[in-house]
Symmetry: C2
């Protein structure tokens, strides 16, 4: 009995094993196909990623010549390693990132090498036995201080990599002193090889199909504005004639696009940080106002949040119910469509780097539409209607008016960018900048009210003040 | 005349120079004082940053013993450099980050070293003259392929550093083969020194005042919930009795706190990524459900966006105007206060890792308050009132009801976390998980309506679906 059951067990294991072996190639193959598909998608979405990979290979081959060619190898010997390491760690996707890392690495190696040399020479005063203790103290103090400095926000943003290399080089140079006779030679060779690696990376990065962080930031900000404009234009149709089936299909598209816009803050900040390292290129000067793009990006996201909220209320049954007549529907549609057009025009102005028309005709239309809506709402439209039924209309009105305010803020920020960056057709009277300071009365108070509410659209003073910027009223907060 | 003017010029320069020299120490000193103040603030805000800096100094001194102690130096020679480099680049603030980088670096060095050895031995078949060409081709192909793989999102998230070290080690080993006789020795020494450096970092990181990314994530999520709860409680007071002066002061505080909550997404994701590398510690097991924290964080931000919008409408003049009677004000205040209490209780449950009471009494109160508000709004409250005056009330009602929905979603997510992570007092009937699937009728339709609107609060299936999760209605979108 026992033998039989053991036999059966063995057969069972054998069958399972066979099945696994049989299935393995199939599973492996299907996984490979999946990976290949993903690779193809990445390459298709951004072919520059393929070119970047080839560029890294090229730069590495260039620096490895220091190993292969005898006269070069004679000069640096195994220190040539440092050139290879430098290329691997410094070569980044965009020119700005590569330049930033290269400059950080070069300067940090220079400074820390010099300091390390000095520190080592100080320790030699004590003689051999005390040397390691003194070196240890120096290494400890320098590493602790530099690591702490890395926590400073300003250092973290731009010089974090430099500080890392500073710690690294100081430790290597001062510790090596204990085992090397010619420490100056070591420090210099390390500096030269790092410089060779860094400049190889920078040269390949700039001269072989460069990817500019600044250009990417420019395109991203314009694209987000354009997408938001398209959504708003889409809403205009949806308000007038939508079916539920069509809407749920639109909804999925909307979610994807909206998340793309709302989640772009981090990417924009990284790109702006890199762009500041880049030299002038194409249409961009060296000190192009990259910060202004962050401001426009923040305002775009603020507007996107309103549009997201608006989307929740765009329900065919709500807006098509018998309580809401055609006139208000048309007013909503009109405001949404004009907002969309205004944003798309601003996106185009950024894209083509031309001065946007000021005052923007769509913004003027928007102000008119806003006024029309409000005068309609002042009429006796509300009487004898169930409050719960009216709430969506109130919410949509309120959100649309807020969206219009956001659009005006964006228009001001784009105008400011246009004058800061001298866009084509820019007139020197600074219309763009002035317009941002004027009070724009888009909401007049009903005459029976005692305290006049004037909504003024003030320019936010800094990109960080994103949330503060929205809408302020003179003397009191927005009552809408 | 000319001599005189030149004299005057020289005197001018001299005076300017003197002034500069005189002012320099003062300016330098004031800058130093500023930096010292900033350093003091950073150290006071998080003393662990100071301890981390000292830990880096300690770890570096530990690995530099390989230089000072003769028997250790005899084994590794100048390869000891790699141990120092490894400590500098691997040692990060949290245990998770250090472990992740250490494991990535160790495994990548092992794999790339073996592959580099193999590649070099392949090239020796062709003989010396062809060797560099073949090595060059291998380096190019490997670097290009690995760089491209770094663009895969899954690789980028967890293994980016490993891929970098893979490229680096492969190049170093295969290129060094051209100039070294004992390549195996080189590869092994590199591996050993990297392992020594990585394990020194990990040991110091874990055993000297460890900073756990998981613990930080846990605290951050609970803190954000608590802050949001406090804001909502604050609103409750503000609705009933606020003055303009007090409000604008509150507003600055509100902005700061709200931006902190809204901008925490990136930080939470980074911490969750690190936490996954960490071993079990304190109250957290090895496979603690860190992803669930991201979900709670996303829902918190979603709720924060509603609260931010709500803040815009909390204007003493609006809500205290004669059209809005005390009863609605009280209803608003009640809802806001109960929402705040519910959130604070949930934050406490996370903090103390105890099962939250289910059903949450505050959530039950909220449902009641919601119902009360709606029945009041159904009354003839709206007749003969100017629509523009009613709009803020409509908006606040609508936003409060949405906030209540968000609070319920958060309660469900926290319940789920409690049962996934076996919080204290957790009962095994899975009440938390079940409750998330039940339909919660918080909004009954006025009887005269034909189509019944039932708002069901569905659990979002993934943390990414943040925006999709909010509120769905069966058959149609939210009409409020």
């Amino acid at each position: 009995m026992e033998v039989e059951s053991r036999n059966q067990e063995e057969v069972g294991f054998f069958v399972l094993g066979c099945l696994w072996v049989k299935r393995f190639p199939k599973k492996f193959l299907s996984e490979m196909v999946e990976i290949a598909k993903q690779a193809k998608k990445i390459a298709k979405d951004d072919p520059r990623k393929v070119i970047h990979s080839l560029k890294v290979g090229l730069a590495l081959n260039l620096v490895s010549l220091f190993y292969y060619i005898q006269p070069l190898y004679r000069n640096f010997g195994d220190y040539a390693t440092w050139a290879v390491i430098t290329v691997v760690v410094v070569f980044e996707f965009t020119v700005g990132a590569t330049l930033g890392k290269g400059i950080n690495r070069g300067l940090a190696t220079l400074a820390a090498g010099a300091l390390g040399l000095g520190a080592y020479h100080l320790t030699t005063i004590t003689g051999k036995p005390g040397e390691p203790i003194l070196i240890g103290i120096f290494v400890f103090l320098q590493a602790a201080a530099s690591t702490f400095i890395r926590f400073f926000p300003r250092v973290k943003a731009r010089y974090d990599y430099g500080m890392l290399i500073f710690i690294l080089t100081f430790c290597l140079v001062s510790i090596s002193g204990f085992r090397t006779n010619d420490l100056l030679d070591l420090a210099l060779k390390r500096l030269y090889t790092v410089l060779i690696g860094a400049s190889t990376s920078v040269i390949v990065s700039i001269f072989v199909c460069p990817v500019w962080a600044g250009g990417d930031l420019h395109k991203l900000v314009a694209l987000n504005l354009e997408r938001l404009g398209k959504f708003l234009e889409g809403f205009a149709d949806e308000i007038l004639n939508s079916t539920e089936a069509k809407q749920s299909e639109n909804d999925v598209q909307f979610r994807g696009g909206m998340n793309g816009i709302l989640d772009s803050k981090n990417r924009e900040e990284i790109l702006a940080n890199f762009a500041r390292w880049e030299p002038g290129h194409g249409q961009f000067m060296y000190r192009h106002p990259w910060k202004q793009y962050l401001k426009i990006g923040n305002l775009t996201r603020q507007c996107a949040r309103r549009v997201e909220a608006l989307n929740c209320y765009l329900n065919p049954k709500t807006l098509a119910s018998k309580e809401i007549n055609g006139m208000i529907q048309e007013a909503f549609s009109n405001m949404s469509s004009e907002s969309g057009k205004a944003l798309k025009e601003l996106a185009l102005a950024i894209k083509t780097m031309t001065m946007p028309s000021s005052p923007n005709p769509h913004v003027t239309n928007l102000q008119m539409a806003s006024r029309n809506l409000k005068s309609f709402l002042k009429s006796d439209f509300c009487e004898d209607v169930n409050f719960l039924k009216i709430m969506p209309v109130a919410a949509v009105s309120s959100l649309l008016i807020e969206t219009v305010n956001c659009v005006e803020n964006i228009a001001d920020a784009v105008n400011e960018l246009a004058s800061l960056a001298n866009f084509k057709g820019s007139n020197s009277n600074g219309a763009g900048q002035n317009s941002s300071k004027t009070q724009c009365r888009i909401f007049e108070q009903p005459p029976e009210d005692e305290t006049p509410h004037v909504i003024s659209i003030n320019e936010p003073t800094s990109a960080n003040e994103e949330s503060q910027s929205s809408v302020h009223t003179s003397g009191q907060k927005l009552t809408l």
